[in-house]
C-alpha cells in the first residue's frame, strides 16, 4: 500500500474590494473532486488517497457566508456577489452538510478518500512522518502560492493587499529542514508530485531536490477559474496548466 496525499488549501474570507480571488469557496476542492470522479490522476491500484485539508479558512469562510445579513446587501459593490455566496452556502446545506468542511468530508467519504484535517503547516509534516518508510507515492497541492511557498490560506490588509500569514505558509525554504522525511517517499515512484498554484516552479524544484522524487509546478500564474469556463480541454487538471492567464503561459515545468 502506498499513500497519495492531496493537500488542499483554503479560500480567503470574502472581501468586496478584491474581485480577483476566492469569490467561490470551492476553488481548490473542485479540481481534486473532478480528478477523483474521472480518475484524471491515474491512481495506481496500490495507492490510497488522502485529502489533507487546511481547515481554518473553511471555518472562517463558512462563518461569514452562511449567515448573510441584510446589511450586506448594501455593500458599495452591489448585491450580486452576496447572492453568489448565499447560493453557495444554501447549496451546501441542501446536500445535508452543515458546513463547508462537512461537505468536503462527505465528498471524500463518497470517493473512499481518507479525510485528514490540519490546523498548522506542522500538522502536514507530522502527518507525512506518521507513515512508514518508502510508502508515499506522491503529494499534490491545490491552493494559493507565491514564489516563496504554498499559501494555505489568504488574507487581506487595510489596503486590500493580498497575502498570507507566515503561520499559514509552507515555505520552499522550510523544505531542507524536513529532508529527514525523504525516506518516507517511494524511491522508485514514477508519479510526479504536482503543485497546482501560481509560481510553484521553485517550490517543485526544491521538493525534487530534497525528497528525490519527480515534481511539477507552474513558472507563472495559473487560473483555477478556467474550471468553470468553456474549453476544448475536457480534463480540468490539464486545462489549468495549459491555459494562458493575463500574465502569459503558466510555464508548467517538470523535474
Amino acid at each position: 500500500m502506498r499513500h497519495f496525499f492531496i493537500l488542499i488549501g483554503g479560500p480567503s474570507r470574502f472581501q468586496s474590494c478584491d474581485k480577483q480571488h476566492d469569490q467561490a469557496w470551492s476553488n481548490y476542492l473542485v479540481p481534486p473532486q473532478l480528478a477523483s470522479l474521472h480518475n484524471w490522476y491515474n491512481k495506481a491500484p496500490d495507492e490510497k488517497i488522502h485529502w489533507v485539508v487546511y481547515m481554518n479558512p473553511y471555518e472562517f469562510r463558512w462563518a461569514d457566508d452562511s449567515i448573510i445579513t441584510e446589511a450586506e446587501k448594501k455593500q458599495s459593490d452591489g448585491a450580486w456577489l452576496h447572492s453568489i455566496r448565499k447560493d453557495a452556502a444554501m447549496k451546501v446545506q441542501r446536500t445535508g452538510a452543515n458546513s463547508f468542511l462537512h461537505r468536503i468530508q462527505m465528498i471524500a467519504a463518497g470517493f473512499g478518500i481518507t479525510f485528514k484535517g490540519i490546523r498548522t503547516p506542522q500538522d502536514f509534516w507530522d502527518y507525512l512522518a506518521s507513515f512508514p518508510k518508502e510508502s508515499i507515492s506522491r503529494v499534490w497541492y491545490f491552493g494559493h502560492a507565491s514564489k516563496d511557498g504554498l499559501m494555505l490560506s489568504l488574507t487581506h490588509n487595510n489596503h486590500c493587499g493580498v497575502g498570507a500569514l507566515l503561520t499559514d505558509m509552507i515555505l520552499a525554504e522550510s523544505l531542507p529542514p524536513h529532508s529527514h522525511l525523504a525516506n518516507r517517499f517511494d524511491p522508485k515512484t514514477k508519479q510526479a508530485s504536482r503543485f497546482y498554484g501560481c509560481y510553484t516552479n521553485g517550490f517543485a524544484q526544491k521538493w525534487h531536490q530534497v525528497f528525490k522524487v519527480p515534481t511539477e509546478g507552474a513558472d507563472q500564474k495559473i487560473d483555477f477559474g478556467v474550471v468553470n469556463r468553456p474549453s476544448n480541454i475536457p480534463n480540468v487538471l490539464e486545462r489549468i496548466i495549459k491555459t494562458p492567464t493575463s500574465a502569459g503561459d503558466p510555464g508548467w515545468t517538470k523535474y
Partner: protein, 220 residues
C-alpha cells in the same frame, strides 16, 4: 521700532514652527516606520510579489497590475526605511528592535490553531516586517546591537526571528558571531536539522536576490 517688533514676532513664530515640526517628525517616525514594516512584509508573504529579477521583468513586460501594485508598495516602503536609516541610524534601529519585541507579545503561536487571520495580520506583518528590516542594518556596530538584544530575548522572539530565514541572515557583516549564537539555541525549540539549516543559511554567500533585496524604482 514697529519693524523690530515684527521681526521679533516672525522669529518667534519660526522658532515655534520649527520646534513643532521637529516634534511632529519624531512623534510620527515610529508609526510611519511600522507602516513601512507592514508593507515590506509583502515582499515574502504577498501573493503576487515577484520572487526574483526575472519575475519583475515578467511583471513589467505583461503589465501585471497585481504584481506591480504590490512591488511598488514594497519599494516605496523600502526607500522610506533606507532614507530614515541614513538620517538617524541609531534611532531607527532602536525603533525597529523595540517594534520586534513589542509586537512579539501579540504574535500567534505557530503551532496552535489561529484566531481570526484578518485580525492577526496587523500584528504579524508589523513584527515580521520589522525583522525583515534588520537586513538594512549591516554595519558592524549595528549588527552587534542586534545580537546583544537577541541574546537576551525571550524564546518566542527567537522562534519568529529564525522562523523563516529572511534576507537579513544573508546580510550579516560577521556571520560567525550569529553561528555561535545559533549553536546555543535550546534544542527543544530548534532541532539539529533547524540549526544546521540556519547555520548554512548564515554562511551562504552565493544566492539569487529575493524579497526585499530586489531593487528597482517603483514602476508607476
Amino acid at each position: 521700532m514697529k519693524n523690530l517688533i515684527c521681526i521679533f514676532i516672525l522669529l518667534a513664530f519660526s522658532l515655534v514652527s520649527a520646534c513643532s515640526a521637529e516634534n511632529n517628525r519624531n512623534g510620527n517616525l515610529e508609526p510611519a516606520l511600522q507602516n513601512a514594516f507592514r508593507a515590506i512584509y509583502y515582499s515574502t508573504y504577498g501573493l503576487d510579489y515577484p520572487g526574483d529579477e526575472e519575475g519583475i521583468a515578467h511583471c513589467i513586460a505583461y503589465k501585471d497590475e497585481e504584481c506591480l501594485k504590490i512591488f511598488n508598495r514594497v519599494m516605496d516602503a523600502k526607500q522610506f526605511i533606507v532614507a530614515q536609516i541614513q538620517a538617524d541610524p541609531e534611532r531607527v534601529l532602536n525603533i525597529t528592535l523595540d517594534t520586534i519585541f513589542t509586537y512579539a507579545e501579540f504574535m500567534p503561536d505557530p503551532k496552535a490553531k489561529q484566531s481570526d487571520p484578518d485580525e492577526e495580520l496587523h500584528d504579524v506583518s508589523t513584527d515580521i516586517g520589522a525583522i525583515m528590516a534588520l537586513y538594512f542594518f549591516n554595519r558592524d556596530e549595528q549588527d552587534q546591537v542586534i545580537l546583544n538584544r537577541m541574546i537576551k530575548a525571550p524564546l518566542k522572539i527567537l522562534e519568529y526571528l529564525f522562523y523563516h530565514p529572511h534576507a537579513w541572515m544573508h546580510n550579516r557583516p560577521h556571520p560567525e558571531r550569529w553561528v555561535t549564537f545559533v549553536e546555543t539555541l535550546p534544542e527543544n525549540s530548534f532541532s539539529i536539522h533547524d540549526k544546521k539549516f540556519l547555520i548554512d543559511t548564515l554562511r551562504t554567500t552565493d544566492y539569487k536576490k529575493f524579497g526585499i533585496m530586489l531593487d528597482r524604482p517603483p514602476q508607476k
